[in-house]
């Protein structure tokens, strides 16, 4: 039975036209419409053969914004280890796992707008050309030749047809350092995003609209194709292939507390690298922090003692609001002093 099936598959495949594999190693997952098998389609492929049932399949790309999602390649445990290693390295081994209490570790699928494919475009305007000339300048010691920068505008026109790759975070989670993620250099195995995933996955909502992203993308294309320093007066672009799509990329966000403050470290869910990490800074004890600041505070408190209580209460409320947890005042005072004076009490 298996042999018959294999033979049928081989016969069907023999009918196919030999063709080069697409240049992109990036793939996305689909299910075979005949047998339901899980298949991977290379970017740019328009027809494929199912490796399970041998059916010839047409890849349909309907109009509209397409969505893709990437499964994390690393586990939560690995993300935690990477974060703690980063913490230890950045603090020179001063803060290790036992010194930092981990509050939570969450995997978030952050959205990115992406434009990739072939771009055809035309633009025209003025190209600013700067060059140096020598001009005679009369002076008390006779005429001198002085160099001056001359600016000249020349009309330019550029026709371009090239592959482009552009992506931008679709949400504004600045603290996560998402600008550091580049989708262009990575050959990834994406899955088609389905609306049901929103219920079971931790997905950040895109705040930037498709129209805004498209506008930003076209601005990028203009910058890419125009000569340096050119003033573009008119342009037209067409994007072929993938057009504008939304990609959900996995990141782990680890939050930890150290000395009463909360810090976060963002880990790339695909390759395990640290995208951005907050670590406690170790302040040096200077004359200012050791003597001048306490002396000034003591003078103020001596003049008007309620000031000391008000300042302490305000600082306590601020710290509680920042950390989101209520600490006993004695513990808070100890941790505050530790932070101020850079030591351990």
């Amino acid at each position: 039975m298996t042999e018959t099936l294999d033979k049928a598959r081989a016969e069907a495949a023999a009918q196919d036209v030999p063709h080069e594999a697409p240049a992109s190693a990036e793939t996305f997952g689909v299910s075979c419409s005949a047998c339901g098998g899980s298949l991977r389609v290379h970017e740019g492929e328009r027809s494929i053969r199912c490796e399970y049932c041998g059916a010839a399949l047409l890849v349909t790309r309907p109009r509209g914004v397409r969505g893709y999602i990437l499964d994390p390649s690393i586990s939560e445990g690995k993300a935690r280890l990477a974060a703690l290693k980063h913490l230890s390295e950045e603090t020179g081994g001063r803060i290790k796992a036992r010194h930092a209490s981990i509050i939570d570790l969450r995997m978030i699928n952050v959205p990115f707008w992406r434009m990739s494919g072939m771009m055809a475009g035309w633009m025209s305007g003025d190209e600013v050309i700067r060059y140096q000339i020598e001009v005679p300048v009369p002076g008390p010691e006779g005429t001198k030749m002085v160099k001056r920068t001359q600016e000249e505008k020349r009309p330019f026109s550029e026709l371009t047809f090239k592959r482009i790759e552009w992506s931008t975070p679709a949400c504004s989670l600045r603290d996560l350092g998402l600008q550091g993620i580049s989708l262009r250099t990575q050959m990834l195995q994406w899955n088609v995003f389905e609306h049901e995933m929103q219920d079971r996955l931790n997905i950040a909502l895109p705040l930037k609209t498709a129209a805004q992203a498209q506008s930003d993308g076209y601005s990028y294309m203009t910058t890419l194709a125009a000569p340096a320093g050119a003033l573009v007066k008119a342009s037209r672009f067409e994007l072929f292939g993938n057009r504008l799509s939304i990609y959900y990329y996995p990141v782990y966000v680890l939050r930890y507390r150290h000395a009463g403050r909360i810090y976060s470290i963002t880990i790339d869910g695909n390759n395990g690298s640290v995208i951005r990490g907050d670590v406690p800074t170790w302040r040096k004890i200077t004359a200012r922090s050791f003597f001048l600041v306490p002396a000034f505070a003591a003078i103020l408190a001596g003049i008007w003692w309620p000031l000391l209580i008000i300042a302490a209460a305000a600082t306590y409320i601020y710290d509680v609001a920042q950390s989101g947890t209520i600490l006993p005042p004695v513990r808070w005072a100890r941790e505050r002093l530790e932070r101020w004076f850079g030591g351990r009490l």
């Binding site: 069907a12 495949a13 009918q15 196919d16 036209v17 030999p18 063709h19 080069e20 697409p22 240049a23 996305f28 689909v30 075979c32 419409s33 005949a34 298949l39 389609v41 740019g44 492929e45 328009r46 027809s47 494929i48 053969r49 059916a55 010839a56 399949l57 047409l58 890849v59 349909t60 790309r61 309907p62 109009r63 509209g64 914004v65 397409r66 969505g67 072939m118 055809a120 475009g121 035309w122 025209s124 305007g125 009309p155 026109s157 026709l159 047809f161 090239k162 592959r163 088609v192 995003f193 389905e194 609306h195 895109p206 007066k233 008119a234 342009s235 037209r236 067409e238 072929f240 939304i246």
Partner: protein, 277 residues
């Protein structure tokens, strides 16, 4: 957010229901049962006729056929478009120049006049007509004689085709270069319906994408003096007929390909290796 979900469906002939061969990145298919051809468009598979141009003369060597979408430009519509754009731009330029003259020569109001008097500028001096640099005010327009020459050439040819390369290449610039060379040469050729089932058509570009490329290939054929008129060019667009897929013969020699109908040479590297087999 994702309303354009990618799916797969059975690749079947729309006429007889037979299974079509898998073509990878290529969008043209030929049924092994009924030998009809179809092309993948934005709306799915659609029947298509493919033509093959025959070489004008017998030549020794290996001949490869490269597919092009050929679209016929509507020259009358283009002439009307050019005339309306030129008239519109000339009117805007005139308005700008007139507004500038009025502003420069009108009597200043009492506050401006007072300010000028305080600064030692006489009212007479202020009213003196300014020297206006019309070249800096008017829109940059192409020469009418040059446009007339181009339109005249298109009209005298009877038909003006735009050739959009449809083969696959990693060198994207090649699409513009080869499309420009073919369109400029406006080859005269004899084409016949091509339905040889043993020779697949390696077309990597759909008809809708070809239609979207028409303006850019047309722009590439225009002289630089016209291309650098932004206000004129951004309004310019070409109306064309339905795209027709035609394979054109190229003579292969080491490192280069000679177009047997266009009479120009291109580097072999400009064309994907699939197309040369």
């Amino acid at each position: 957010m994702s309303d354009g979900v990618i799916t797969v469906q059975r690749l079947q002939c729309g006429h007889c229901g037979g299974e079509l061969p898998v073509m990878g990145r290529y969008v043209t298919f030929q049924c092994r049962t009924c030998f009809r051809r179809c092309v993948l468009t934005d709306d799915g598979l659609a029947p298509i006729s493919v033509y093959r141009a025959s070489p004008p003369e017998e030549r020794e060597g290996k001949i490869v056929y490269l597919p092009f979408w050929v679209l016929t430009a509507d020259i009358d519509a283009l002439r009307k478009k050019v005339a309306s754009v030129m008239a519109g731009l000339a009117e805007i330029s005139q308005k700008i120049a007139t507004a500038k003259i009025e502003r420069e020569t009108s009597a200043p109001d009492w506050m401006t006049e007072l300010g000028m008097n305080m600064m030692g500028v006489s009212s007479e001096e202020a009213r003196r007509p300014a020297v206006i640099d019309h070249s800096s005010l008017t829109k940059r327009l192409p020469s009418r004689a040059e446009l007339e020459h181009i339109l005249g050439r298109m009209e005298s040819a009877g038909r003006w085709h735009i050739y959009i390369p449809a083969f696959w290449t990693a060198n994207t610039r090649a699409y513009l270069q080869i499309g420009k060379m073919m369109t400029r040469s406006q080859p005269v050729f004899h084409a016949e319906l091509f339905d040889d089932p043993d020779k697949p058509v390696m077309c990597a570009l759909g008809p809708q994408d070809a239609a979207r490329l028409v303006d850019y290939i047309f722009f590439a054929t225009l002289p630089g003096s016209i291309q650098t008129c932004p206000d004129f060019m951004k309004e310019l667009s070409l109306e064309t007929g339905k795209p027709v897929l035609i394979e054109f013969p190229f003579l292969e020699s080491p490192g280069s390909l000679e177009s047997l109908v266009g009479g120009f040479h291109i580097q072999s590297q400009m064309v994907g290796t699939d197309s040369l087999e």
